[in-house]
Symmetry: C2
């Protein structure tokens, strides 16, 4: 199996973690720990202990833990976009491509052996719980200027483009896609923690229900 890596905005890190053993340890252990502890309880000190390194060493890869989260989330969106690209091709009708994109966004994640040191299932849970924390900070504007949200913006733009192909007159393609990208995560979260805010069940049907909810939402509004 070919070993792939994503070219991420290099403001996300101080030193690229994909290229060294320590860097890869930082990534894979932090995914596991943020998933287990939650982002607030996760610290570089605890991480350093578990990878048997030091806090100072971790700081040589990431300026702070917020940037590490941004990195992980950027990686996630790159991975999603890559999988949408794999699953679609330009010769398909736009509606087909939009359906596929929604499939990829909502579907239950499985470990992807192309990226050995990233546990995509845990990373998906992290994105569900922590995504909003990447931009709901006092640094949004600065982070945005540095292009740290590029992965999310690029994905949103790509799918919004398909919406416009289907109905060039629909006036809110970006709003629609950003809404459903977030809604997919939120409904998954609610199904576990605040079930009265959703009609999605927590069991294995959940992904399918979110899928059907969102597909209907999108197609109803762009085709009306």
């Amino acid at each position: 199996m070919a070993v792939l890596s994503f070219q991420l905005n290099n403001h996300l890190f101080v030193r690229d973690p994909q290229h060294t053993q320590l860097g890869q340890n930082i990534i894979s252990k932090s995914v596991e720990m943020i998933d287990r502890l939650g982002f607030e309880q996760f610290t570089f000190k605890k991480l350093a202990e578990e990878i048997e390194s030091t806090e100072a060493s971790v700081y040589r890869y990431f300026e702070n833990k917020h940037r590490l989260l941004l990195y992980l989330v950027a990686w996630y969106w790159s991975w999603i976009e890559y999988r949408i690209d794999l699953a679609t091709n330009a010769s398909q009708p736009a509606e087909e491509r939009l359906k596929t994109a929604i499939d990829v966004i909502v579907e239950e994640k499985k470990f992807d052996p192309s990226f050995a040191f990233v546990d995509e299932v845990a990373l998906h849970r992290i994105v569900v719980s922590e995504l909003d924390k990447t931009y709901l900070t006092k640094w949004v504007d600065k982070d945005n200027q540095e292009g740290l949200f590029g992965g999310f913006k690029s994905l949103c733009k790509k799918i919004a483009g398909i919406v416009t192909e289907i109905n060039p007159k629909y006036p809110y393609p970006n709003s629609l896609i950003s809404t459903v990208l977030l809604a997919a995560k939120q409904q998954a979260f609610f199904s576990v923690h605040l079930p009265s805010l959703t009609n999605v069940s927590q069991d294995t049907n959940g992904a399918e229900q979110i899928h059907s909810f969102i597909k209907r939402l999108v197609f109803d509004t762009i085709k009306s």
Copy 2:
């Protein structure tokens, strides 16, 4: 003008802040400060300085700053529900009531003199920026058990009920309403900070565009 107050879940506070001068100072000053500093930068120590009291005294009203945020957000949702109740009546057709509810959710907020010590405009901005932080924590389940999200759940249920009146066969009323309640906030945030994720402009048309986006989204999907 009659002075009103909301009966909020009493797990939200240690001592009810509406009943004392110090309590009211805590509320109004924390609204101003969280709006100005952001929730992370806001601390009880800074608050105590500004109201010329002490940290220990603030802790006699709120267990911690997370509960204070929950309190403010609960207050906000109670206020929204109250205003929807004012603006609708049971004799109206369901579609009319749903439109009105969306109006109230999206509309630009103005100071409401019925609640003298709360600056609703600032509180609205707080909810836009900080709402997700109320439930994206390791305490969600505990907080939920204590009923601290009651305001949001109650509002969601009420509006979802109207959706079901309009189309009893629509299978996702709660998901739809929780999605649009959050989308209204997110699109407002994006219009300011991440404009490429939205088609809503930052100027005074913004609220109207969000309104039109959401009204169309809701009615298209429940009437299809």
